[in-house]
């Protein structure tokens, strides 16, 4: 019922300073978590994010954080990997551990009826993983299999080539999984070092939703995280955007070319972020009626989908987009995107586009709060973005406040058709690789 009240408030475009039922919980041990309490279904979702992620791979150890995270569910204390998985299954709890570029994430859902036991198990995985040699070899094999798969996957190839061109030797320039060579060379010591570097209390963000009280949540997070080291490794430096305009073709035997394109972007805390966010939604948000979908799909049938997205990462920000089109039409489609980019940079968008997009963005915001798991994910994401705890009540008003003039100014500032670089994987025709 609390949630219902919250969403009703958020549906209003007016930023009434209404209370949201997001509670900031401080644990006895001094950790902070955001919580939406809802006792209608007897389970809860927990999200932990450790800032740093695969950016913290030591030089020459690319893939260490990724392999480390994959090993967290491979046993703790008396439990080897099979015994750990059996214990989790017997509780019908779900845990997942994932290494992203900027964070290591831990997601869990646990039934109320056996939550204390489930928490003990999760604590073991997070605070005392075994890193058994047998598990390291087995999971290393799985990672190597994934890497081999990515070598032959056109989408993965496009991402890899684009990242290398844009970021070179910075961690953003290579896959988080590492390379076959780097992963093969990782030792147990490397994994323990990656664990110590990335799983520390000074960088953890916590959110929960569902059937738990603030007091119980405080005890829970102290139990899970209390034994972790206070500090970890320092993040690598920010990296700027140096990639110049052009087209890079990566020959690959597929009938349809995969096209990834991008330019520099905007930081999440930039005052113009909302204007840029709306602008991107109009250019290539993931729905019909955007400029890219209209030009490429609706008018010409050149693609199944064309999208763009802001990528405001911790250490660099870019603006990227993607589509696939038959090899024969790749040149035409690339030219259309470039033209549309230039057109919007010069002319901005229409008042009608802005009005429609605002209605969509404000109206659909409450739809995201679709159950305990998604809610916990949203709350932890807000913290990672350094947003205030009342953000959800002011967010729609911030969308509404963006004017057509703001969009025009931001389009002129941000959109750089002369900087746009395309990576085309396939056997494209009609591509002019000269910028």
């Amino acid at each position: 019922m609390l949630l219902r009240a919250a969403l009703a408030v958020m549906l209003l475009a007016v930023p009434a300073r209404a209370e949201l039922p997001i509670q900031a919980v401080t644990s006895p041990g001094g950790l902070t978590a955001w919580l939406i309490e809802d006792h209608s279904i007897p389970f809860m979702a927990l999200e932990l994010r450790f800032e740093g992620g695969t950016n913290l791979d030591a030089p020459g150890k690319r893939g260490a954080v990724n392999l480390m995270a994959a090993l967290l569910e491979e046993g703790t204390g008396d439990l080897d990997s099979q015994a750990f998985a059996e214990a989790r299954e017997a509780l019908a709890a779900d845990f997942s551990f994932e290494a992203g570029r900027d964070t290591v994430s831990v997601s869990a859902r646990m039934l109320t009826e056996n939550r204390d036991v489930a928490v003990d198990l999760l604590r073991g995985a997070v605070a005392a993983p075994r890193f058994d040699d047998a598990s390291i070899e087995r999971v290393r094999g799985q990672v190597l299999s994934n890497i081999a798969g990515d070598e032959k996957d056109p989408d993965a190839i496009a991402g890899r080539v684009f990242a290398r061109l844009a970021y070179g030797d910075h961690p953003y320039g290579s896959p988080s999984d590492g390379t076959a060579d780097s992963v093969t060379g990782l030792t147990r010591d490397d994994l323990v070092a990656a664990y110590k570097a990335s799983m520390a209390r000074d960088r953890v963000f916590i959110a929960a939703a569902g059937d738990i009280t603030p007091a119980d949540l405080g005890l829970m997070i102290d139990r899970i995280l209390g034994d972790l080291p206070a500090t970890g490794a320092v993040q690598p430096p920010q990296v700027g955007w140096t990639l110049a305009s052009g087209v890079t073709v990566e020959d690959f035997p597929v009938p349809q070319s995969v096209v990834l394109f991008g330019q520099s972007g905007i930081k999440r805390d930039d005052p113009d972020f909302f204007a840029a966010y709306i602008l991107n939604e109009i250019v290539g948000g993931s729905r019909f009626g955007t400029r890219l979908m209209t030009e490429l799909r609706e008018k010409r049938g050149l693609t199944y989908g064309a999208y763009s997205y802001l990528v405001p990462r911790d250490l660099s920000e870019s603006w990227q987009g993607q589509f696939s089109t038959d090899n024969a039409t790749a040149g035409q489609a690339v030219a259309l995107v470039r033209d549309e980019w230039a057109k919007i940079a010069a002319d901005g968008i229409t008042a009608e586009e802005l009005a429609k997009t605002k209605t969509y963005l404000t109206g659909s915001y409450p739809l995201r709060f679709e159950g305990n798991g998604p809610i916990a994910g949203i709350l932890v994401g807000m913290q990672l973005d350094r947003l205030p705890i009342d953000y959800a009540t002011t967010r729609n008003a911030q969308i509404e406040a963006v004017t057509l003039e703001d969009i025009r100014r931001v389009a002129a500032r941000l959109m750089k058709p002369e900087e746009l670089h395309f990576v085309v994987v396939g056997q494209p025709q009609g591509i002019d690789t000269q910028p």
């Binding site: 019922m1 949630l3 219902r4 549906l11 809802d38 279904i41 007897p42 389970f43 990997s81 099979q82 750990f84 998985a85 059996e86 299954e89 017997a90 509780l91 019908a92 859902r109 039934l111 087995r138 094999g141 799985q142 190597l144 299999s145 081999a148 798969g149 990515d150 032959k152 996957d153 056109p154 035997p253 597929v254 009938p255 349809q256 995969v258 993931s286 729905r287 019909f288 009626g289 799909r297 609706e298 008018k299 010409r300 049938g301 693609t303 199944y304 989908g305 696939s324 089109t325 038959d326 429609k356 209605t359 969509y360 109206g363 659909s364 409450p366 739809l367 679709e370 305990n372 798991g373």
Partner: protein, 447 residues
């Protein structure tokens, strides 16, 4: 990705094991034959409308593969009252999102909106049930889109191509042998009239199920449904769904597909398997356990323990089964060998594991864990009303009734290890199986 008009076959593995007992569920029938199901969830002021048509790719006329999915795309092209693209634009202008999907047995359209916008959504959905208008231009452009979709989903991916080829070999006669997206050479010839013929016959209230879920009450839904869907004319004399059925399958089939883009060779085998049937879900419930026991978890399942640990033969193993299907479905096993182990050795190891399993039976502790998890799914499922609506729609368009849906959690809890072993002995019949190898095409070498 909201904009995907996708064949839902990929979701199959999700749907298998999910019980349904969440939310307050009620139903009624309009005079024109439209069945309406209402699932209440008042936690948030949000509603989802899903209209499910009892028609999918397996109902297509011969030689017109892909027409069900093509029509799904064309349904966004406009009516007397809505211009092309205006449907989705109106949903968005109401702060909602919408999409659609096609599978072998059904085609469904949905919108998620604030609950107070539901009336407008129903008005539009009812309007396009009978009022679709198609121009030749729109058809020609959209045909290019579905061909691009096929390239992206299938032709760019050797694994997807293998699945397509394997199914065509698996089913000797049933149209499940034909891909939902369609064969490319038939897709390029799909015409406006094909779409309209299909539409006029199958898109009708007496061939549809409306599922409304979220912050709604049944009386309001009934009032709106009667106002908007009530006047829509049914298709008279709609024949019962009867597809060509399988003859006895008497011989094992094997295939090898080579592709230069294969990074990781693997072996995959599917067996014909019984589906959930109205009033008879026992075998399907047992097969749901069998898939979990053999390959549901990469650490604890029978295949994982035997092949991925110690002197490991495999880097990945799986077993999958989806019982929610109108006609005979599949039970599928897959093994990805570790480098240096041949596909033959991987397959032999898989068969040795199966043979040992059939001899030893089920570890009681493993059985109990899976039973617990299936029961817990009852609780977890209540958290996502859209997924609940999905399960009702799938069930009611694949020959099941609300009573079957209600009984399914109990059917799952009633399964015994003996039931699982009995169904395993039946389903693992190589005469009804296809074993497919995906191999890397070597330079200058014919596979």
């Amino acid at each position: 990705m909201n904009v995907l008009r996708l064949p839902l076959a990929a979701l199959a593995f999700l749907a298998a094991a999910m019980p349904l007992r969440a939310g307050q569920v009620s139903d009624f029938m309009l005079d024109n034959g439209l069945q309406v199901v209402v699932i209440e969830d008042h936690r948030a002021p949000v509603a989802v409308q899903m209209i499910w048509y009892k028609v999918g790719s397996a109902d297509e006329p011969q030689g017109r593969s892909g027409i069900a999915h093509f029509l799904e795309h064309l349904m966004f092209k406009g009516t007397d009252t809505l211009d092309p693209g205006e449907f989705s634009a109106t949903v968005e202008a109401n702060g909602g999102d919408d999409n659609a999907f096609t599978s072998y047995d059904y085609t469904a359209y949905f919108q998620r909106v604030a609950a107070d916008r539901l009336d407008r959504m129903m008005e539009m959905e009812a309007d396009r049930m009978r009022g679709l208008i198609l121009s030749e231009d729109d058809v020609a452009t959209e045909r290019q889109v579905i061909i691009e979709e096929r390239s992206q989903r299938t032709d760019n991916d050797p694994g997807a191509l293998l699945t397509e080829q394997r199914r065509a070999v698996q089913y000797l006669n049933h149209p499940y042998r034909i891909p939902v997206i369609g064969w490319r050479h038939e897709m390029v010839a799909l015409a406006r009239q094909d779409a309209l013929d299909f539409y006029r016959r199958f898109y009708a209230p007496n061939n549809a199920v409306l599922v409304v879920a979220g912050d709604v009450n049944p009386a309001d839904v009934r009032r709106m449904a009667e106002a908007h869907y009530g006047p829509v004319a049914p298709t008279p004399d709609l024949a019962p769904r009867a597809r060509p059925t399988e003859p006895p399958q008497l011989g094992e089939r094997r295939m090898v597909m080579a592709d230069a883009r294969v990074a990781q060779p693997y072996v995959i085998r599917s067996y014909l398997a019984p589906e959930r049937n109205a009033g008879d879900q026992k075998d399907a419930a047992a097969l749901t356990y069998l898939a979990e026991i053999l390959g549901g978890n990469g650490t604890t399942s029978v295949l994982a323990r035997a092949l991925q640990f110690g002197d490991a033969k495999a880097v990945y193993t799986s077993a999958s089964y989806d019982g929610t299907s109108l006609d005979t479905t599949l039970f599928t096993l897959a093994v990805v060998p570790v480098p240096g182990v041949s596909l033959q050795d991987a397959e032999d190891a898989m068969d040795a594991t199966l043979a040992q399993f059939l001899k030893d039976g089920i570890d009681p502790a493993a059985f109990a864990r899976i039973k617990t998890q299936l029961k817990a799914d009852d609780i977890y499922a209540r958290d996502n009303v859209r997924r609940l609506a999905q399960r009702y729609g799938e069930a009611l368009t694949t020959g099941l009734t609300l009573a079957d849906v209600a009984a399914w959690p109990d059917d799952l809890q009633a399964v015994t290890p003996e039931d699982v072993m009995a169904v395993a002995a039946k389903v693992f019949d190589r005469r009804q199986a296809v074993t497919a190898w995906l191999v890397r095409e070597e330079e200058g070498k014919t596979p």
